[in-house]
């Protein structure tokens, strides 16, 4: 079972990533911003899931870590698993989906969660060079991020609201430890 301190650490990191995403300074390219936006979203979702997760059998705990906590795009990953999840993780995914869908700009949050940087040059990536219009492009030189992850300002605002909602849940979660 997660502790409030553990959840706080995930929330703090989500906030730090979002602050980094909002910095405008020399040397910071749009690809870096997009990575931090995704990371912030991901960590906020994991903080929420940690609060909802109740201890299960050893195999369930392992699956939760392997299939969710250690994954880059946790919601996308769970949606795309070919084999059936354990019931506990299946139901947790439903809880997280309902939480996200209840927020403003849920569609944008889904989009951000789903931006996974892959080594496949055919796929847009904020970390690895990829093929764009027939030529290799460095992510730092790419300008089509709005189509990939939504407008940056809107994406930051959506993740900020997500973090605020997770913080609200954290105050409810802390009641169990008083």
């Amino acid at each position: 079972m997660a502790t409030p301190a553990q959840v706080d650490a995930w929330i703090q990191q989500a906030e730090a990533d979002l602050r980094a995403a909002r910095v405008v300074d020399e040397g910071i390219a749009e690809c870096h911003r997009r990575y931090w936006i995704q990371q912030s979203c991901e960590k906020a979702l994991k903080a929420y899931a940690l609060m909802k997760w109740t201890e299960g059998a050893a195999a369930e705990e392992l699956e939760f870590r392997r299939m969710f906590l250690l994954q880059h795009s946790p919601l996308k990953t769970l949606s795309g698993v070919g084999t059936p999840l354990t019931k506990r993780l299946h139901l947790l995914r439903r809880e997280v989906v309902l939480f996200v869908n209840g927020l403003d700009n849920a569609a944008l949050l889904w989009k951000i969660d789903g931006t996974t940087p892959r080594n496949d040059p055919a796929e847009t990536s904020y970390r690895y060079p990829f093929v764009h219009e027939g030529e290799y492009a460095a992510p730092a030189a790419f300008v089509g991020w709005d189509a990939y992850q939504g407008n940056a300002t809107g994406a930051c605002a959506a993740v900020n609201r997500l973090i605020a909602a997770v913080r609200d849940e954290r105050s409810e979660f802390a009641r169990f430890f008083r």
Binding site: T54, L91, R175
Partner: protein, 122 residues
């Protein structure tokens, strides 16, 4: 005790997950301070512990612990037939949501059969 309007709102939300539809929801243990729902989820086909609840803590949007007894219809039917106490609770429960297939009523009918030895009109 859980207010009916709160549990109805929760169930409405539970029916909106597009890629993981729910076929029926029955509210059981309606006098309990925690919420207990039996949910028919076709995606949980092959579930080996259909009668085992999974619990989620209270949250800002729903301020009661939630115990979900979820499985596909066949799994829940098996659980009802294997567990007379669960059958009694389902028989005494309230169907809050179901599709035209009336799976909620069907499960209650099976629960009545297990509890009373015969089907009772719903």
């Amino acid at each position: 005790m859980v207010k009916r309007e709160d549990i109805v709102k929760l169930v409405e939300a539970h029916t909106t997950v597009e890629d993981d539809p729910v076929d029926a929801v029955i509210w059981i243990r309606r006098d309990d301070d925690d919420a207990w729902l039996v949910e028919v989820l076709p995606a949980l086909r092959g579930d080996s512990t259909p009668g085992e609840p999974v619990t989620f803590r209270a949250s800002r949007s729903f301020r009661h612990p939630l115990h979900l007894i979820a499985s596909d219809a066949a799994g829940l039917e098996r659980a009802i037939r294997d567990d007379r106490a669960l059958a009694q609770e389902i028989a005494d429960g309230e169907v809050l949501y179901e599709l035209e297939s009336r799976l909620g009523q069907r499960l209650q009918s099976i629960a009545n059969e297990v509890t009373h030895g015969h089907a009772r009109a719903g």
